[in-house]
């Protein structure tokens, strides 16, 4: 093991701010768990659903992800160092495990708090161990899946997802059982899976190809089968076409496509995926948590809101301000872009709104989730863009992405609106009228922002000062 190398990797991949925020988050979860002793029992069934759901999400991210996180600066400098490729790969793999541990704290910290609150001896000991084992499993799957074809990735992802979900039907030997009463069986299965996957991953490491994170997208879609036609349409339609991503996703325009590729491409469109998940949701939810439907949906929306907040910078990195801002009034441009992105998220979330309306007719109290989906999510998309401008957090430029653990304190600030709205939303479970009022206040604020000139003018200047233009 090359000590200097691993120190260098840790230093370049983890910002001090990110470590501090994650530790604070964990401490906060522990304190809230100790304080919220009695309430936690009410949350327990909900968090089982949440734990299983997030595990499926992270598994899919690891399997469908882009393999070892290699940045452009790594390719230019790190990969040219006189170090054995296998050793380099091993160090990157270890760092990736640490990175997943941080991710697990962010997503599963709340479960640790419940384990503490309930004080169930076994879960108290096993859950932290399980979260580390999950990080090892995710990292190994990341490496293993990187050499698989797209079809094999989907088969592997579907198999593992079903296996995790089976815990909700009471299957004890499931990866998801670590979040249920069957935690002991779940932990045994998870540890065996982590060890096996690590053995396979270590074998693959010697032959792994280092690809800069974005190369995969570019390689899979370098030539377009059919160019989009912007000729003869209005400016708004052109911007909308470029920014409305509900029916399109990266890498779906490959020239050489088989029938199976086309089917996969159609199924991988966000709006189709959303319809499938909404259908599963409407079928499963009444059986899983009939009495706590609002809480389930709230926890379900949590990652979605987090996703909107944390990914807007990536969306901005695809912008080309030197072209768009000189082509038309930047304020008007951003107004169009914001509306297109908001409508995009609205369309992706719409199947869930329909699913909740169906549940409402079946007698469930789903009015809050419906309002949240129809108003809060699109408004939050626009508000987050504005918030990012006044807090001056944009750091990304062109296609060179950052690793999540490199985020600095300022970038974490973008999560504040998400946190505030989520907090109010959880409060509104006790006072539903508060939820409705909050949603309409957000709608009003968003409409005001869209109509104002000053915020967007300032946004342009901030982006320029940051070197974005």
């Amino acid at each position: 093991m090359h000590n200097k190398l691993i120190k260098f990797l840790l230093y370049t991949r983890f910002s001090k701010s990110h470590i501090a925020v994650t530790v604070l988050m964990l401490v906060g979860c522990c304190i809230s768990g100790i304080l919220a002793n009695s309430v936690s029992f009410m949350f327990k069934p909900i968090l089982q659903y949440y734990g299983v759901g997030i595990t499926v999400f992270l598994l899919a991210t690891a399997i469908l992800g882009r393999g070892m996180r290699v940045m452009k600066s790594d390719r230019d400098y790190l990969l040219t160092l006189p170090i054995e490729k296998k050793e380099l790969a091993l160090n990157l793999y270890l760092v990736q495990i640490i990175s997943f541990i941080f991710t697990n704290v962010v997503f599963f910290g709340i479960l640790v708090s419940v384990a503490l609150a309930i004080g169930g001896g076994l879960s108290y000991i096993l859950l932290p161990v399980d979260l580390v084992a999950l990080a090892v499993l995710f990292s190994s799957l990341d490496v293993i899946a990187s050499v698989l074809s797209k079809k094999m990735k989907i088969v592997l992802g579907a198999f593992l997802s079903l296996w995790v979900l089976s815990a909700l039907w009471g299957v004890p030997f499931s990866l998801g059982s670590i979040f249920t009463e069957q935690i002991l069986y779940g932990s045994i299965v998870l540890l065996i899976s982590a060890i096996l996957s690590t053995v396979i991953a270590l074998k693959k490491l010697s032959n792994i190809e280092f690809k800069v994170m974005n190369d995969l997208i570019r390689a899979s879609s370098s030539d377009m089968e059919k160019n989009r036609v912007f000729n003869g349409i209005s400016r708004f339609r052109a911007i909308f076409s470029l920014n409305f991503s509900a029916v399109k996703s990266s890498g779906t325009f490959s020239m050489k496509t088989t029938l199976m590729d086309r089917i996969i491409n159609i199924l991988s469109r966000p709006i189709i995926l959303s319809c499938i998940f909404a259908l599963i949701y409407v079928l499963l939810l009444p059986q899983l948590a009939a009495e706590n439907v609002n809480l389930v949906v709230t926890l379900h929306l949590l990652p979605l809101m987090f996703f909107i907040t944390s990914t807007y910078q990536r969306g901005l990195s695809k912008e080309r301000a030197w072209l768009s801002f000189t082509s038309m009034d930047p304020m008007l441009y951003f107004r169009y872009v914001s509306v297109a992105k908001a409508l995009s998220w609205f369309s992706i979330a719409l199947p869930f709104a329909i699913a909740n309306i169906i549940l409402m007719f079946l007698g469930f109290q789903t009015i809050l989730p419906i309002i949240s989906i129809l108003i809060t999510i699109p408004c939050l998309t626009i508000f987050t863009l504005y918030w990012g401008s006044i807090t001056n957090v944009v750091q990304l430029r062109e296609e060179v992405q950052m690793i999540q653990t490199q985020t600095n304190l300022k970038q974490w600030v973008t999560a504040i609106p998400y946190g505030v709205f989520f907090f109010v939303y959880v409060l509104s479970l006790l006072l539903p009228m508060l939820g409705i009022i909050t949603a309409f206040v957000l709608l009003g604020v968003t409409l005001f922002l869209l109509c104002s000139r000053y915020p967007w003018r300032m946004f342009v200047e901030k982006l320029t000062e940051q070197g974005f233009v």
Binding site: N214, I217, R218, S221, S222, D223, M224, N227, R228, V229, F230, N231, G232, I233, S234, R235, A238, I239, L242, S250, K318, R320, A321, W322, L323, S324, F325, T326, S327, M328, D329, P330, Y333, E398, E399, R457, V460, E461, L463, T464, E465, V469
Partner: protein
Amino acid sequence: MDKQRTCIEVNAVSKRFGNTVALKNLSFKIPYGEKFALLGPNGAGKSTTLKLLVGFLNPDLGEVTIGGVTPSSVAARSIMGYLPEDASPYHVLSVRENLEYVGTLRQIENVKETTDSLLDFFDLREYEKAKVGKLSRGTTQKLALALAIIHKPKVLLLDEPLNYLDIPTQEKVITLLTSLSVTSLVSTHIMSVASRLTKNVIMLAKGAVLWEGSIDALKKLGAAEEPIESIVARMMIGAQ
């Protein structure tokens, strides 16, 4: 210079980023139809000047006008063409899509015909369906140049326009830019590029104008046979 004929005017402009002073009481004027080069060492304020002229930044003090109006106005934007250093068009779009998209945003007439003529002029036809992310740096620069002139601008603001281009394309672009009846300001580090593209020079140092005049006048500042690069280097070092 006749004020009425002034196209680009920078009047007593200061700009600061935090504690760093980027521009300090900067003033210069460029008449309609004239071509100027903006020279200066690293950190002299060339890029900041261009960003102020394009309207991306507002001056802390002073005033910037293009054709008598503020650069961020629609009127100024419609006549300006801008090429930043290391320009990068939309990576998610193909070459043709980039041209059509920007043409549509600019509301130019005959988007398709203009796109086709630019594809042919810059030898981009074979890459028209390729995504920008897969292009070489030189081909990307050709596309960026095409995007900067797609709307037939009257004012061109170019930052290192010949970067990455092969020699035949450089010659083609020099011929094109010198033949256009536009007002232009070209920021560059390379004196030979400046002298091929323009007849006049504005030299910046530490955010202020160090020297301004024609290239012929600049040559006369040195000894006989002294290369112009040597004269410029001497002036820049003297200013530091």
